[in-house]
């Protein structure tokens, strides 16, 4: 779902990862077990077409993907530039006209290293945001970070450090996974100011206090007008984050139960109260598709 949303907000728009567009990033993520190309975009690698429709405050549009022999045509709506992209089923490269930044920011814990490389490459644009993010992170750990710096380590390679109040530095890579993901996400957010924030498996590597802090940070993004869409397998995370968003931003957060069966994605939209009520009644919505959908 998050990948579809990322694509629908600009298949060839730039992302804050080194030299990749949304299509290229997804291609790389889907290459984990080998195999090149873009057939993963279609159901069972062989469907004739796929459509991703978006309805938002900014308008309604649709991204169309069509299989024509060995080519997958991706037709952008006019809102995104109106290009027709030709992707090869078994090849990873394709031609496209370059674009600005996507309106969507995609966060996943396994993209942290890529994001870090990107931050390094645009450090002069990042450093002005660094003190604010360092201050945020200090609320989570027993250290007082005041800034992030790019400096050489043993061997001479330049790397990213959290800079402490007493002058010490700790490499970002030496911090816990949760802190690292949060730091990178916050820095990327400051850099690209997305309209849509997508965060996959948001609970990954987060201890309870970090998750609570992240919930507050995400809620403030919602208050700022960013649409936040998260995926999680954790009821604790879903309820905590949705409640924080309602508390801080007002309105109603929705929790969607999704289930893919026989190529059909079925969904049920629920309020935080509903999810909690079902849990008390002994129905875990995560495993309740047989009843709830």
């Amino acid at each position: 779902m998050l990948e579809a949303l990322l694509l629908a907000h600009g298949p060839v728009h730039k992302l804050p990862y080194p030299d990749v567009t949304a299509l290229e990033l997804l291609r790389d993520l889907h290459m984990t077990l080998g195999g090149a190309g873009f057939s993963f975009l279609l159901h069972n690698y062989s469907a004739e077409e796929a459509r991703i429709a978006v309805e938002s405050d900014e308008g309604t549009w649709e991204l169309l993907l069509m299989r024509k022999g060995d080519v997958i045509l991706v037709r952008e709506p006019p809102e995104l530039g109106g290009q027709e992209l030709k992707l090869r089923v078994g090849r990873g490269d394709f031609a496209y006209g370059s674009r600005g930044f996507s309106r969507a920011l995609f966060i996943r814990s396994d993209l942290t290293k890529l994001a870090y490389r990107y931050l390094k490459s645009v450090w002069p644009d990042v450093w002005k945001h660094a003190p604010r993010v360092a201050e945020e992170l200090s609320k989570l750990v027993h250290e007082d970070y005041v800034n992030f710096t790019m400096e050489p380590f043993h061997g001479g390679e330049v790397t990213l450090y959290a800079f402490l109040k007493d002058g010490r530095r700790v490499r970002l890579g030496d911090l816990g996974d949760g802190v690292r993901v949060l730091a990178v996400a916050m820095l990327l957010h400051e850099l690209v100011k997305p309209k849509l924030l997508l965060w996959d498996d948001v609970e990954a590597h987060m201890n309870p206090s970090m998750l609570l802090h992240l919930a507050g940070w995400l809620a403030r993004r919602v208050s700022d007008g960013v649409q936040v869409v998260l995926s999680t397998h954790s009821l604790e995370a879903a309820e905590t984050i949705a409640s924080a968003a309602e508390e801080v931003a007002g309105g109603e957060a929705r929790i969607h139960l999704l289930s893919l069966r026989d190529g059909v994605l079925r969904a049920r939209s629920m309020s935080v109260d509903e999810v909690e009520r079902y849990r008390r009644a002994g129905i875990d919505v995560r495993v309740g598709e047989g009843l709830l959908l």
Binding site: L235, S259, R261, E274, R277, Y278, R279, R280, A281, G282, I283, D284, R286, V287, G288, E289, G290, L291, L292
Partner: protein, 235 residues
């Protein structure tokens, strides 16, 4: 019959139900996602209710998948206060089966209390089976029609002053371990079948369960109303 737990994934209830089914070689608890479950059993007290249900499901055989859940806060008939949640949660819910202990109440008092607890729903029809130990109520709640099946644990056991699921288990135990032993247990437990069953060590409890798995006739004698109630889910 297959049982599909809809309880929080890593709960003790799911873990014990699944492990029991696996240990006894029953294969009746499925954790696989299921497309369409129309019937839900609300287990009142966890164990041994879930063990008994697993054995009964094994004897009923078949491929029908029934959901099982355990209310996190309410027990026994009180669960009916929250019947709205189940009806609203499950759009296709057809039958809600609630096994409860009779304890020291009369069957009629249980029926009255059930009627008062589902007062938000209109009772369109009602049928008593097995002398009222199984009570089928056709309900209409917010325009939705569904069936509530009350299954009352009620077995006349000499020396017991209450009727619980353990009364049925002790009856089975009498056939396997002997009348004297069960009579003694009940005496020591001052007529409370729950305590009497708990006094039996785990190995002997499992010995009884194993016999229940192997001998369908024993289960039919010890759990007659349970068989009838579960068969209603097949209709």
């Amino acid at each position: 019959m297959k049982l599909r737990p809809f309880v929080v994934g890593l709960s003790r209830f799911v873990s014990t139900t699944y492990s029991f089914s696996t240990r006894m070689g029953l294969g009746v608890v499925t954790l696989r996602p299921t497309a369409d479950v129309r019937d839900l059993i609300l287990v009142g007290d966890g164990t041994p209710d879930n063990y008994v249900l697993a054995i009964l499901a094994y004897h009923l055989n078949g491929r029908k998948v029934v959901g099982i859940a355990k209310h996190e806060e309410m027990r026994g008939l009180s669960v009916l206060r929250d019947v709205r949640t189940y009806v609203e949660a499950a759009k296709r819910l057809r039958t809600l089966l609630l096994p409860i202990d009779r304890d020291e109440m009369t069957l009629e008092a249980i029926a009255d209390r059930a009627r008062s607890l589902v007062k938000g729903a209109a009772i369109k029809d009602e049928r008593a089976i097995n002398g009222g130990r199984v009570r089928e109520m056709e309900l209409c709640y917010g325009g939705r029609e569904f069936r509530l099946v009350l299954l009352v644990n009620d077995f006349e056991l000499k020396g017991a002053r209450k009727h619980t699921i353990e009364s049925h288990l002790l009856h089975a135990a009498k056939e396997i371990l002997g009348c004297d032993l069960v009579r003694n247990l009940l005496k020591r437990a001052m007529g409370d079948p729950k305590s009497a069953w708990a006094m039996l060590d785990k190995n002997r409890q499992y010995h009884v369960y194993r016999h229940m798995v192997e001998r369908r006739a024993l289960v039919e004698r010890a759990f007659p109303q349970h068989i009838k109630a579960l068969k209603l889910l097949d209709e």
